[in-house]
């Protein structure tokens, strides 16, 4: 997720950043700006309610769930209706949280090989459960999922498994990683193999293993990231300015301010020389 924008920005001064930055990215990852989407290409487990509630900044923009762009998604639901058209098969799928249309395009080239295969495989039937992999699409204001694969569910534990996985991922994006994993990460940083721990922005080594390992209250992902940056970046007792943090973590200034507000209200950081410079409040 972190492309090391911070490093490029630190090396470049002012307007030169744009050139330097884009060159640097191009070198590291093929495809230049296009690689941005590829880098974010994830397969996200969701509930159908999350699909219905997904936000779109403007038509043609990527859909966002919990403020994070979704590209590929997967879900499990019950097939309510199957309608076969000449070019596609449309399934109406209901997972108990909502209903969505799923379209699978019929590829005329593979129809023949499918005919022999369908007899052996379990079929997709109305009222049976299926797992869908696909992309969320919007066509004249109506949402549907363009499916790559639809597979019937044979073990119904997968229904429960999927809903729990979707919940876990939802919580990851809204509240940050689970507390015990974070503690595990801190322990590794302070432990015997600092070279293996990359840390956020690659700055962890500067800290010399002085991790507080302090148990944080539930925080949003960005707030957690900024706390971690403040914790691990070299700084004077004045702490870090909003611009500095923004360049280190590659976040918009607005988002940094919002996350800092959250940390301030939790009493985890305090303002130093001005309202936009913060340091960790050590107990």
């Amino acid at each position: 997720m972190d492309y090391g924008y911070g490093n490029y920005q630190n090396n470049a001064g002012g307007g030169g950043f744009m050139n330097n930055g884009s060159q640097g990215i191009g070198e590291n990852s093929p495809g230049g700006s296009a690689s941005k989407t590829y880098g974010k290409d994830t397969l996200r487990p969701v509930t159908i309610k999350q699909i219905i509630d997904a936000q779109q900044a403007h038509p043609d923009a990527d859909f966002k769930v919990d403020g994070v762009e979704v590209t590929q998604l997967t879900f499990v639901g019950q097939i309510r209706n199957i309608s076969t058209q000449t070019t596609n098969i449309t399934y109406k799928i209901d997972d108990g949280t909502g209903t969505v249309e799923v379209k699978q395009w019929v590829d005329s080239d593979v129809v023949n090989s499918m005919d022999t295969a369908t007899d052996a495989k379990p079929k997709l039937m109305e009222n049976s459960y299926a797992r869908v992999w696909g992309k969320l699409k919007s066509f004249s204001g109506k949402r549907h999922v363009g499916a790559h694969i639809i597979r019937p569910i044979t073990d119904h534990n997968e229904v429960q498994y999927h809903l729990l996985e979707a919940t876990a991922v939802h919580l990851f994006f809204t509240r940050g990683p689970p507390e015990q994993l974070k503690k595990g990460g801190n322990a590794a940083q302070g432990g015997a193999a600092p070279g293996q721990q990359v840390g956020v922005g690659g700055n962890a080594a500067d800290n010399g293993g002085g991790q507080s390992g302090r148990a944080l209250p539930p925080l949003s992902g960005p707030a957690r990231k900024i706390y971690h940056t403040l914790e691990t970046s070299p700084q004077s007792n004045e702490g870090l300015n909003v611009q500095d943090i923004s360049s280190r973590v590659g976040m918009q200034v607005n988002d940094v301010l919002k996350a800092a507000d959250e940390l301030l209200s939790q009493g985890l950081i305090y303002t130093t020389v001005d309202d936009n410079t913060w340091a960790i409040l050590d107990m």
């Binding site: 509930t47 309610k49 909502g98 009222n127 049976s128 073990d155 729990l164």
Partner: protein
């Protein structure tokens, strides 16, 4: 008919979902003609329709409406077989209500 969300519940949530269409998974413990008893973290009495094919001792998922007397009128039933992890089912019911923002619109 079933376009709205059907929240996943178990016996302990019946009271708060009176009059609503819900989804519950349980083990079929008794079959008596039109009625069945299902163990979903507590016993639930379900009124069946003609299309239901419940299998004794198997897990079943019921989509149904909660009556005022806390019995469930079955709209659809799906056999889930004999190999269902009920601890996972309970975990899903808990997650559904604790993190309802991704599962159903709450009337509150």
């Amino acid at each position: 008919m079933m376009t709205e969300a059907t929240p996943r519940i178990n016996a302990s949530y019946l009271e708060s979902f009176q009059g609503q269409t819900v989804r519950l998974i349980g083990k079929v413990t008794q079959l008596r003609g039109e009625q069945a008893t299902i163990d979903a973290n507590g016993s639930v009495t379900a009124t069946l329709n003609r299309d239901c094919h419940l299998v004794l001792n198997n897990a079943v998922e019921i989509v149904g409406k909660v009556n005022p007397d806390l019995t469930v009128r079955v709209l659809a039933a799906t056999d889930f077989g004999s190999n269902i992890n009920f601890a996972a089912v309970d975990a899903v019911v808990n997650a559904t209500h604790r993190h309802k923002e991704i599962f159903y619109e709450s009337s509150e």
